[in-house]
Symmetry: C2
DNA sequence: GCGGTCGTGTGACAGTGTGTAACAGCCTTC
DNA sequence: GAAGGCTGTTACACACTGTCACACGACCGC
């Protein structure tokens, strides 16, 4: 359930935070762990459920994965999204959340046994994995901040800016992003309803902050203002 | 910033989750790490700030510590509380949050260097520390759930029941708890305002769910209903 | 005693976001 | 091309929580 990309979800405190320690990815490649089978998974398929014994570590190749929890009465919370390049399933032996695809997704599946062998052989490898978990924790803290103290406008801006920064980190343009998930997933991630998300998109369009030709493509028109919103500097105070 | 006790903040999903792996505490004792100096810290003192290099791992002996983040505009979010027996400061080398005391607190301070030596000597020790971080992540996920999907009533119930369970786990009565922190800390932890927290306490009293002679002592009168509330089973749906 | 601060509790009111609903656009299916 | 399902958008009344204001008690120094 550890999601390296989660670490990019830092707007309010982006400057202070350590860089995502991606060192583990090349280490995994060097160990031949990437030779594992590649799975092609349809949209809306469950990878694991909360409480499951962890069986594999997954590396997302294409598509997107959604990490969530569900309350007894059916209310769902999205804890994180995993995008291509992200590693999910690090951490404890018992899954702390559900994981399901939100698109047609290709994954590399690394059996936990193989992963643990690699850790046992090379302590540095285990150390890198721990750093990823610590980064995920820091990202979860940031998620708490976003949900508990930001307005709907600020939350959506924070979400969009995280994706923009992710694009930038991957050598793509930060001026536009592609939303692989549905409005409901965004709403459940930001602790809002689907209607509020929809309304906020509309407000951003009307205010000239963004432009949208399609439902899943966002072009940024005023990155500075969006970043200020995302950092919680706008509106109140 | 890792807080073992945080793990007890699981009401909605308590059954599914692994037991707090306290194995690391006796291991630390066995390694003589506990021989470190004990610090007596006044109320409202800062132990570290977000972004600081980690210098010590702390074991709380008495009192209570509050882990928080602050937004650029001054809005504060409490991420967790650490109580006697809890270990804080595990995880990454850069602190992901602030830490300050909310009471007169006695702490054992273990220098990071000594801790790292112990990890290098004994991989199992490092593994136990990683498990603590993973547990803290699971607790942070639960915090996201509480804040994003529960009502004010449910949030406060969730908080009170976590403390009740903690008492139970420590061999004390689950029927009453002591609140070491102020209303403002509780409010910032639950993503509410101090007024809402105050009103919710009053509502609980009037509904016969709790009794309070003093501001910081809560006696539970209807644990079953409170637990249902905490699990998000009450009210809506 | 007095006046000050701090923490807490309570009331009136406003505002944000929600719930419910209807509707539009796009896709698949027949 | 029509029917139906899914996703997204918009409108409006309502509820919950936040904001602002003030009262109360405990504690402290004068």
């Amino acid at each position: 359930m550890i999601n390296i990309a989660a670490h990019s979800f830092h707007d309010a405190t982006a400057i202070k935070l350590p860089q995502p320690a991606m060192a583990i990815a090349p280490m995994m490649a060097a160990k031949g762990l990437h030779s594992s089978a590649i799975r092609k998974v349809a949209c809306n398929e469950t990878l694991w459920c909360e409480g499951d014994e962890r069986s594999h570590i997954f590396v997302v190749r294409t598509g997107a994965v959604c990490l969530s929890r569900t309350l007894p009465n059916g209310r769902r919370i999205v804890l994180d999204f995993a995008y291509p390049g992200d590693i999910i399933g690090l951490g404890a032996d018992t899954q702390p959340c559900d994981a399901h695809t939100v698109q047609l997704t290709r994954l590399e599946a690394i059996p936990v046994a193989a992963f643990k062998r690699a850790v046992a052989e090379d302590p540095e490898f285990g150390r890198q994995a721990s750093i990823q978990v610590a980064n995920a924790l820091s990202a979860a803290y940031q998620h708490v901040v976003v949900i508990s103290k930001l307005s709907a406008n600020e939350r959506l801006a924070s979400f969009l800016m995280a994706l923009s920064r992710r694009n930038e980190a991957h050598g793509l343009s930060p001026m536009s992003i592609l939303l692989p998930m549905k409005r409901l997933d965004i709403a459940d991630f930001l602790g809002l309803t689907i209607e509020t998300v929809s309304r906020t998109f509309t407000r951003f369009r009307e205010a000239g902050l963004i432009a949208m030709d399609q439902h899943n493509v966002v072009v940024f028109r005023d990155l500075a203002k969006l970043r200020a919103l995302a950092a919680g500097e706008g509106e109140h105070d």
